[in-house]
């Protein structure tokens, strides 16, 4: 009996999905037709979702939350105003949002000659707000958690804190401690902050509507800063022996004296480490978002071939996008884990001590 009901349930779901996709198709058909003149610019649409913006759209409405714009014009003056003043291509205090050229989608200023230029832009964009939200979220989770631990020594947390502790244990117990050994306590705060920050921004990126929806970890600026932090930690806390290996490695003299071949390779290696971190996280997270967008866009692209093709594509795309979404959820955790693990390994590599080498 349960098997039968299960089958019925499955069939019901399938029919529902098909109905939904068909209604979705017919609904979008009209809008697609209306855009026929300009054509559906898939590239622009995808990039619009992947990139930053100056306002935050609320779900199911066309209401956009304006965010503050902070820019410095070419004369060195700072301007602070709401992004609602630039909506629909309006100009304010000599600034507007351009839709063409290299700075498409960005605030540009217009100088005395009437030319567009890119001002110093410290606006609190959607991404910046999301970063702040992630930080606040982290504090909201971890400050009470730390208090809980202080209140209940020698006790294991339950429920939500228990789940969070599982992650802490996964990072601290399984990665940081085995790799760094006695230095674990010294670097644990940084590595745990990095892990949870990346994990939370990844998860926020998975929420497609208002409180989330910013493609943060798929933004190269974000991954660059995070990689830079790791780079700084590696090199500031690197031991003497690490620096010696970097600049004057123990290789035959001809490889480092007239032409500093090995030092160049070593330094290049030190620089590629944060680069690898930066590009890995960026590409993985951006790829995950992009594939979902592309799959959904397929429905609109295939609308040109008629209703049947479009419905088929819709079912296929939605199913596949769902699958990719679930996979991406896993990747959110894995990429945060990988970033932290690689950071730990790189930090560990810079913690070599002379006497350890002698032992080997």
């Amino acid at each position: 009996m349960p098997k039968l009901s299960n089958m019925i349930f499955r069939r019901y779901i399938l029919v529902l999905a098909m109905l939904l996709s068909i209604s979705f198709t017919t609904a979008t058909k009209a809008s697609a037709h209306s855009e026929e003149e300009g054509g559906l610019n898939v590239k622009e649409l995808i990039f619009h979702h992947l990139l930053d913006s100056y306002e935050w759209e609320l779900p199911c409405t066309h209401v956009k939350i304006p965010l503050p714009i902070i820019v410095r014009d070419y004369q060195g003056e700072w301007h602070l105003f709401s992004s609602s003043r630039l909506a629909h291509g309006e100009e304010y205090e000599g600034f507007k949002i351009t839709h063409h050229g290299d700075n498409s989608g960005k605030v540009v200023g217009i100088n005395a000659e009437g030319e567009e230029y890119r001002p110093l832009d410290f606006s609190l964009t959607k991404n910046v707000t999301e970063i702040m939200l992630a930080a606040i979220l982290m504090l909201l989770i971890f400050l009470p958690m730390a208090r809980w631990y202080k209140k209940n020594p020698y006790k294991a947390p339950r429920k939500f804190f228990g789940g969070v502790e599982l992650l802490i244990e996964m990072i601290y117990g399984e990665v940081i401690k085995p790799i760094l050994g006695k230095d674990a306590k010294k670097f644990a705060p940084y590595l745990l902050t990095v892990f949870f920050f990346i994990f939370i921004i990844n998860l926020l990126g998975m929420i497609t509507v208002f409180p989330g929806g910013a493609n943060l970890s798929g933004n190269i600026a974000v991954t660059m800063v995070l990689a830079l932090m790791t780079f700084l930690v590696i090199n500031i806390f690197g031991t003497k022996h690490y620096w010696k290996d970097l600049i004057w490695p123990e290789v035959p003299m001809f490889m480092k004296c007239p032409i500093p071949l090995m030092p160049v390779i070593e330094i290049f290696g030190a620089l590629t480490k944060p680069m690898a971190l930066m590009i890995r996280l960026f590409a993985n997270m951006m790829g995950g978002h992009m594939i979902t967008l592309v799959l959904v866009c397929l429905i609109f692209i295939f609308s040109a071939f008629g209703l049947a093709v479009q419905s088929g594509t819709a079912v296929f795309s939605v199913a596949f996008a769902l699958f990719m979404g679930v996979l991406h959820l896993l990747i959110c955790l894995i990429q945060a884990y990988v970033f932290t693990m690689l950071s730990t390994i790189f930090i560990g590599l810079a913690q070599i001590h002379e006497h350890k080498e002698e032992k080997k």
């Binding site: 498409s104 971890f142 705060p189 974000v222 995070l226």
Partner: protein, 165 residues
């Protein structure tokens, strides 16, 4: 390729927010949590160690107890055996002592019986000889009234005396 161009504003804000977040969490959150987790792990490890030790001790104790029990049983047996031996010996001694006593008593009894017998025999003899003397006196008195027989008796007696000599 805007996607690959890091923005200055975003980088700056992230840097600021991240550094602030790091400072706050590094001061108030991570050390407390890490310390707590470590301490708890240590406690659990120690607890497991204690439990193992206790188990080992318990096993030892059980073994000891068993050994003690066996020893005690052996001792008990020995004591019992000794007791039995002692009992037997005491009984034996008592028996022999009793036998000796009985013998002594019997001997004494025998002696006294003998004495009594002898005494009674003597008494009896004395009485019998008294009776015999009286009878003899009476007989003699009667016989001697007649001369003939007196002569005969004297004759016989003389004869007897002669034979004895």
């Amino acid at each position: 390729m805007e996607l690959f161009k890091p923005e200055l504003g975003l980088s700056f804000w992230l840097l600021v927010v991240f550094v602030l977040l790091f400072i706050v969490t590094a001061k108030y959150v991570w050390p407390a949590i890490v310390k707590s987790v470590d301490e708890r792990a240590d406690l659990i490890d120690k607890g497991v160690g204690y439990a193992q030790e206790a188990k080992k001790q318990l096993e030892n104790a059980t073994e000891n107890a068993q050994q003690l029990l066996v020893d005690a049983q052996r001792q008990q047996m020995e004591i019992l055996r000794e007791a039995t031996q002692m009992k037997n010996r005491i009984i034996e001694e008592a028996r022999s002592a009793a036998t000796a006593e009985a013998k002594k008593v019997m001997d004494a009894a025998a002696i006294s019986i003998e004495q009594a017998r002898k005494a009674s025999e003597e008494q009896f003899r004395a009485e019998v000889s008294g009776f015999a003397l009286q009878i003899a006196e009476k007989l003699v008195r009667k016989e001697l009234s007649d001369d003939k027989s007196q002569k005969e008796i004297i004759e016989k007696m003389l004869e007897q005396l002669e034979k004895q000599n």
